[in-house]
């Protein structure tokens, strides 16, 4: 079931009274405005940290090459801090990892889907290509931001850049085991994990 904005606003307002499994969004959105909203999402804003790819001495991005050590986040990307009042220029056909200004904590009975805002999309700014947020997640959301247009776009921290839709699960995940989904305040590449199934396929010819 998709939650209405007013339900989300109620959950946010109630977060400090619910010590067991709250929905937290901080900095707190203007819930009075959301209450009167007839939509089904909450807008999220652009944060202050960015991470760009950088030219490095690594010949390619080979995450499978464990023997030769896959390049670390620091060796292939560069962090940037853009304070409030400043802007980041995203050039045509370039890509940056950004982060939401809001730190979000989802209860174990809700999952989220993040999408860009159409007003930005129509200007060539595409946001988020891996939109699912798991129940129990806590952290800022890393956003993949690409300018697919032909003119540079200025983006400022604090701008409403995307939105999150919240869905109620058909039951709850096992809250007693706690959450594995923890984010950070800065955008991160994250690990590309492998599994037994994939490993067998990778090694089938050797």
């Amino acid at each position: 079931m998709l939650l209405r904005s007013s339900t989300i606003a109620h959950l946010i307002d109630d977060c400090e009274n619910n010590e067991s499994d709250p929905l937290v969004i901080t900095p707190k959105p203007d819930t009075r405005r959301i209450h009167g909203d007839s939509s089904a999402s909450v807008d999220l804003r652009l944060g202050t940290w960015f991470r760009t790819e950088r030219a490095s001495r690594h010949p390619l991005l080979d995450v499978y090459d464990r023997d030769r050590l896959a390049p670390t986040e620091h060796s292939i990307t560069q962090a940037h801090y853009i304070p409030f009042g400043s802007q980041f220029i995203l050039h045509p056909h370039s890509f940056v990892l950004a982060v939401t200004l809001e730190w979000i904590r989802l209860p174990f009975y809700l999952a989220g889907m993040v999408t860009g805002k159409s007003s930005w999309g129509r200007r060539g700014l595409i946001i988020e290509t891996a939109p699912g947020v798991h129940p129990g997640y806590s952290g800022c959301l890393t956003l993949e931001v690409t300018n697919v247009g032909d003119v540079p776009i200025a983006i400022k921290p604090g701008t409403k850049i995307c939105q999150i839709f919240l869905y109620q699960l058909d039951g709850t995940v096992n809250a007693a085991e706690g959450s594995r989904f923890v984010g950070q305040r800065q955008p991160q590449l994250g690990a590309i994990s492998s599994d037994e199934f994939a490993e067998k396929l990778f090694q089938s010819r050797t």
Partner: protein
């Protein structure tokens, strides 16, 4: 003219570095006017050099070149400091909320530059007045701690040096320290003092021009110790219990080798912190003093005697130093602390979220220290994968601290109390 050419070339090289720095990616705007000011100062020297003619007196030329060299020598570390202020390992989120404290303490026009330094001790620059940086607070944090939210209270001590200078506490304590030193020699250790310095003759000669020379070092060291104690009190009163923890974290048990005379002895310093904590209702941890050890005493007896005079003098002024620090911070509205809010933020951290609507930096850092010292209550079952990994625990707490600080800044900008 060879000297002029050399000096001109050096100036041009430094100006080139400044030009490159000016186009740097500064996260905060306060570095720019400082760089502009340094550029102007050096450009003025270029103009002065241009006035030197082949027939100008050699002595005059040398004096001008020396002054320029001195200026380059003075601003050089500052340029490095500004360059390193751009490093993304710095606590950029701290700038706004800490600037708020700096502005309340020193005035709305105060500027703040925080940098990460390759120096283990946090420090601040005491820039000469003629450079025009009297309202710029430079705070250097050891590079390995510059992104550590729990080390933030140490910045309070460094702000203390700027407050000491801005409010002319040196002038205020100049005579007080002198009188206390003389009184101590006269009333407590006269016989011993006379053994080392028989030329003084009688206690009445202690204050004449010759007599002063014998205890001048004690006065000088005590002045410096008083400033350090005052700065500890500024840090302590601004950040309360978290200052004690950050202080111990960084420097306990103390450094090897003979003690630095300009600093109070470690256990005296800790005793002063205890005295101020008790008078201000700050909870002083029971076994805190056990974390520290005094440094070795100086090898020669005369220095030991003079240092004992400094130590005794400083100890006598602790209460007054604490009163001065508390009164100034109180007048500036900087004693912002709430146990209730600290507890509320701890609960947020326990849930794995930043402070919802934090009121002060002090409360955030105190909540973080309490949470850390209590072994992250709640995380063992809420975030077991984080809890079992100390590195991830530290990272997550650090993220919660800095996100809370950012939320505080947002609320300050939005005027949300």
């Amino acid at each position: 003219m060879e000297l002029v050419q050399y000096t001109n070339k050096k100036l041009a090289a430094v100006l080139l570095v400044i030009e490159a720095l000016q186009s740097g990616d500064f996260p905060h705007s306060h570095s720019k006017p400082v760089l502009d000011r340094i550029e102007t100062l050096l450009q003025e020297r270029v103009n002065t050099l241009g006035l030197i003619q082949p027939d100008t007196d050699q002595a005059v030329t040398k004096t001008i070149c020396k002054e320029i060299l001195h200026k380059i020598f003075t601003v050089y570390p500052l340029l490095g400091f500004i360059a390193r202020s751009m490093d993304v390992r710095n606590s950029f989120e701290l700038h706004g909320p800490f600037l708020n404290i700096v502005s309340k303490a020193l005035g709305e026009d105060a500027k703040l530059i925080i940098s990460s330094e390759w120096d283990f001790s946090p420090f601040t620059y005491n820039m000469p007045g003629d450079l025009g940086f009297s309202k710029v607070v430079f705070i250097g944090i050891p590079v390995s701690e510059s992104g550590n939210g729990l080390a933030i209270p140490l910045s309070g001590h460094e702000l203390g040096h700027n407050i000491w200078r801005a409010y002319k506490f040196h002038d205020k304590y100049y005579r007080v320290v002198e009188e206390t030193v003389v009184k101590h020699i006269e009333k407590v250790i006269w016989d011993e003092f006379q053994q080392y310095f028989p030329a003084v003759g009688a206690p009445t000669n202690l204050t004449d021009m010759i007599g002063q020379q014998y205890w001048l070092k004690s006065w000088y060291w005590s002045m410096s110790q008083c400033e350090e104690i005052f700065c500890d009190f500024i840090g302590l009163l601004l950040f309360r219990e978290s200052y004690l923890h950050a202080f111990a974290y960084l420097i306990a048990p103390g450094l090897l080798g003979s003690r630095a005379e300009h600093y109070p002895n470690m256990l005296d310093r800790v005793a002063a912190l205890r005295q101020a904590s008790d008078s201000q209702g700050i909870v002083f941890p029971d076994s805190y003093a056990n974390l520290f050890e005094d440094s070795d005493t100086p090898p020669d007896a005369e220095t030991r005697l003079l240092l004992s005079i400094s130590d005794a003098t400083t100890k006598q002024l602790i209460e007054q130093l604490c009163r001065d620090a508390a009164s100034l911070l109180n007048d500036k509205g900087l004693l912002a602390h709430s146990f209730a809010e600290t507890e509320r933020i701890e609960k947020s951290f326990s849930m794995g979220v930043p402070a919802i609507s934090p009121q002060s930096l002090t409360n955030i850092i105190n909540a973080a220290w309490n949470f850390s010292r209590n072994a992250m209550p709640g995380w063992s079952h809420r975030y077991p994968s984080v809890y079992t990994n100390p590195k991830r625990c530290e990272q997550m707490l650090n993220d919660l601290i800095f996100k809370s600080i950012e939320v505080l800044e947002i609320n300050q900008i939005q005027g949300i109390e």
